[in-house]
C-alpha cells in the first residue's frame, strides 16, 4: 500500500505541526512530545487513582509508600499540564519537575532496595519502577532531553518531527534569559 497519507482530516494537526505559529510552547506537545504527553497522562491517571484508592482505604498499612505514590502522581500531573499548556515558563517548570522526578525515582528506588522493611507495599517508584517496565525511570530522562531540545524563545526552527536524534546540545544557545 504505497499510498501516501490521505490527509483529509489533518487540518488542525498540520497547522500545528507545520509550526508556523510564533509560540514555541505549542510544540511541547507535538511531534515526539505527543508521545511523551500520552505517557505522562497515563502515568498521572495510574498513579493518582492508585494512591487515592490506597490512601483512602488502607493508609495505615504502608503510609510512606502510599504518600510517595501520591507525590509521584502530583509530579506527573504537573508535568502533563505543563507540556500541554506549553510556553517558556511551562517548559522550565516541566524541566525542573522532570529533574525532581528523576531524583525521586533514583532516591526511592535505592531506598526500597536498601531498606525494604520501610515499604510493606510497592510505590510507583519502587525498585526504580521495575513493576512498570522501568518506564518511570525512562520517562524523566526522555522528558529532560526533549525539553532541552526546545527553542528557548519563539524563534522557529524548521525542525521536522521525524528527527529523532538526541543531538540537542549542538545548539548551545544557552539560557535565553527572560
Amino acid at each position: 500500500m504505497p499510498e501516501r497519507n490521505g490527509d483529509t482530516d489533518g487540518s488542525t494537526g498540520t497547522a500545528r505541526a507545520a509550526g508556523t505559529t510564533g509560540d514555541g510552547g505549542r510544540r511541547l506537545a507535538s511531534g515526539p512530545g505527543r508521545l511523551l504527553v500520552t505517557l505522562y497522562g497515563i502515568f498521572t491517571v495510574g498513579a493518582a487513582s492508585r494512591s487515592l484508592y490506597q490512601l483512602s482505604t488502607r493508609f495505615d498499612e504502608a503510609p510512606l509508600a502510599y504518600v510517595l505514590s501520591a507525590v509521584a502522581a502530583v509530579v506527573y500531573a504537573f508535568i502533563t499540564v505543563a507540556l500541554v499548556r506549553g510556553g517558556e515558563g511551562a517548559r522550565r517548570a516541566a524541566l525542573a519537575c522532570c529533574g525532581a522526578e528523576l531524583l525521586g525515582v533514583l532516591t526511592v528506588g535505592t531506598w526500597t532496595l536498601v531498606e525494604p522493611s520501610a515499604f510493606p507495599d510497592a510505590t510507583v517508584w519502587s525498585d526504580y519502577g521495575m513493576g512498570y517496565l522501568f518506564i518511570p525511570l525512562v520517562l524523566p530522562v526522555t522528558g529532560l532531553l526533549w525539553l532541552r531540545r526546545q527553542p528557548t524563545d519563539g524563534s522557529e526552527r524548521t525542525d521536522t518531527t521525524s528527527r529523532t536524534g538526541t543531538t540537542g546540545r549542538t545548539d548551545g544557545t544557552g539560557p535565553a534569559g527572560r
Binding site: G10, G13, A17, L35, T38, S162
Partner: protein
C-alpha cells in the same frame, strides 16, 4: 472474568500495536484502517466491560476489590478513544507511536485484570 475474551483483547491490542508500530517505522501517520482496528479493540473492550458488570451483578466477586476491578474495566475502555484522538491531531509517525503506547498499556491492563479477578498477583 471471561478468560478467552481477555486473551483475545490482549492479542488484538498487541496486533494493533505492531501494526501502528510498522506505520511509525515507515514514517506514516495513522490512517482509516488503523482507526478501524482501534474501533475493533474498543468494541471488544466495551464487550468486556459489559461482561464484567453482568458477572458482578450476578453476585460474583473479583478476588481483589470490586472498585479496582471496575476502574480497570473503565480504564481499558478509555484507552483506545484517548490515543485515537491524540493521533488524529498529530498527523505524523509520532501519532502512530502514541497509539502503540496506548495499545501496549491496554494489553498490560488485561494481565492486571486477570490477576484482579483470579487473585493471582495481589
Amino acid at each position: 472474568m471471561l478468560t478467552p475474551l481477555t486473551v483475545a483483547l490482549a492479542v488484538a491490542a498487541l496486533a494493533l500495536a505492531a501494526w501502528c508500530g510498522h506505520a511509525a517505522y515507515r514514517d506514516q501517520p495513522t490512517k482509516d484502517w488503523h482507526f478501524a482496528g482501534m474501533a475493533v479493540v474498543t468494541a471488544l473492550s466495551v464487550l468486556q466491560l459489559v461482561v464484567g458488570v453482568v458477572r458482578l451483578a450476578r453476585g460474583e466477586e473479583p478476588a481483589d476489590s470490586t472498585v479496582i476491578f471496575v476502574s480497570y474495566l473503565v480504564g481499558v475502555v478509555c484507552c483506545m478513544p484517548a490515543v485515537g484522538l491524540l493521533s488524529l491531531s498529530e498527523r505524523t509517525r509520532w501519532g502512530s507511536l502514541t497509539v502503540v503506547a496506548g495499545a501496549v498499556v491496554l494489553a498490560v491492563l488485561q494481565v492486571r485484570l486477570y490477576d484482579i479477578w483470579e487473585g493471582v498477583g495481589a
